[in-house]
């Protein structure tokens, strides 16, 4: 039952080749403090509408370090808290934050029109962009990053909540997925990891 030594070696070489290949696109290994997902998640890609009503894709944000978060505007507690935390993070980055964007993707496109998203994200940070669009395109983006959301049953007045993943995804300026964070993680760690991506971004 033991594989032949040569087969073992071949498997090992194959494994090394796979690691090398997956690593080559997301440039060098960086000493992230949060969960490093480099090479384990697909590049930033989507087809949505921004808060100016313009059709956008993931490629439109190449050149920026992207912080992606799913939520909805009728969420009174956790979504605004997370966006407020991301605003503080952006402030702590100082001028470097100009090379970063917060992408807030609505999981409630029925209520979140581009106009609603526009006033909403701008109440938090000038570098935040609201993305909404076709329910299917939003689902595709959510699935791409193994995120999930569920619309809860409506109340008497027709209002409803949407339960959603709380993950925060960080992409480098080439669209490579690099770091996975949660709102419970320390702000210092997120600032640290964004610094790594923004500092290397200026050299290349």
């Amino acid at each position: 039952m033991k594989p032949l030594p040569s087969l073992r070696l071949a498997l090992l070489l194959l494994l090394l080749a796979v690691i090398a290949l997956s690593g080559c696109d997301s440039s060098q290994k960086l000493p992230f403090r949060l969960t490093d997902v480099s090479g384990h998640m697909p590049d930033l890609d989507f087809k949505l509408t921004d808060d100016h009503g313009k059709a956008v894709t993931g490629a439109d944000y190449r050149g920026k370090v992207v912080v992606l978060y799913f939520g909805y505007t009728h969420c009174p507690d956790v979504c605004p808290l997370t966006l407020a935390q991301l605003h503080v993070v952006m402030q702590r980055l100082g001028p470097l934050a100009d090379k970063a964007r917060i992408l807030f993707v609505s999981v409630d496109p029925a209520r979140d029109t581009p106009a609603v998203m526009h006033t909403y994200v701008n109440a938090f940070d000038p570098r935040a962009i609201g993305l909404t669009g076709d329910a299917r395109d939003i689902e595709a983006l959510s699935k791409r990053y193994r995120s999930a959301y569920t619309r809860e049953p409506s109340g008497k007045d027709g209002s409803y909540e949407v339960s959603h993943s709380s993950a925060i995804y960080v992409f480098d300026n080439k669209g490579g997925a690099r770091v996975l964070a949660t709102p419970a993680d320390s702000q210092d760690d997120l600032v640290h990891d964004l610094h790594l991506l923004l500092d290397t971004g200026t050299q290349s």
Partner: protein, 150 residues
């Protein structure tokens, strides 16, 4: 011996009358604020409640002429999912406190009868299980505020 018994009785009565004071009468509210969101989006309100009484005080909700609907809610996170659910009550333990803060318990304010701006102070009547109420001033803070402020 008789006078002693009387004293005990009196002391007992005094204790009884002090616990008979309303729940609201034993509660102090601090760090009361709400997060103003654009348009008519629902807002979260937060407060720290301290109870100096010997009995728990049970918060059951709140009301305000400024909002058509106020609900006591709790956000929770499990398995990486954020959820929010209505709760019937929140107990402020005897000689203890309960904190309503982002990502946990909050009062959800819906359908403002007129716009509320950051910097405004609004009054919510906190309701307790025994029917008593505590009028509390909440400071309206900007969307990206983290807490009740300086």
């Amino acid at each position: 011996m008789k006078s002693h018994t009387l004293l005990f009785l009196l002391a007992g009565l005094m204790v009884a009358s002090s616990t008979n004071a309303t729940e609201a009468a034993h509660v102090q509210a601090s760090h009361a604020w709400l997060r103003v969101l654009p348009g008519d989006l629902p807002a979260g309100a937060y407060v720290t409640l301290e109870n100096d009484g010997d009995q728990p005080a049970v918060l059951s909700g709140a009301s305000s002429p400024l909002y058509a609907d106020v609900m006591l809610h709790k956000s929770s996170s499990d398995g990486g999912m954020s959820r929010m659910a209505m709760v019937d009550s929140l107990s402020v333990p005897a000689h203890g406190k309960a904190i309503l803060a982002p990502a946990g318990y909050h009062l959800m304010l819906m359908k403002a009868t007129h716009p509320v701006k950051p910097g405004d102070t609004i009054t919510l009547n906190l309701k307790f299980a025994d029917g008593s109420t505590l009028a509390t001033n909440f400071l309206a803070r900007p969307a990206n505020a983290m807490d009740s402020g300086p």
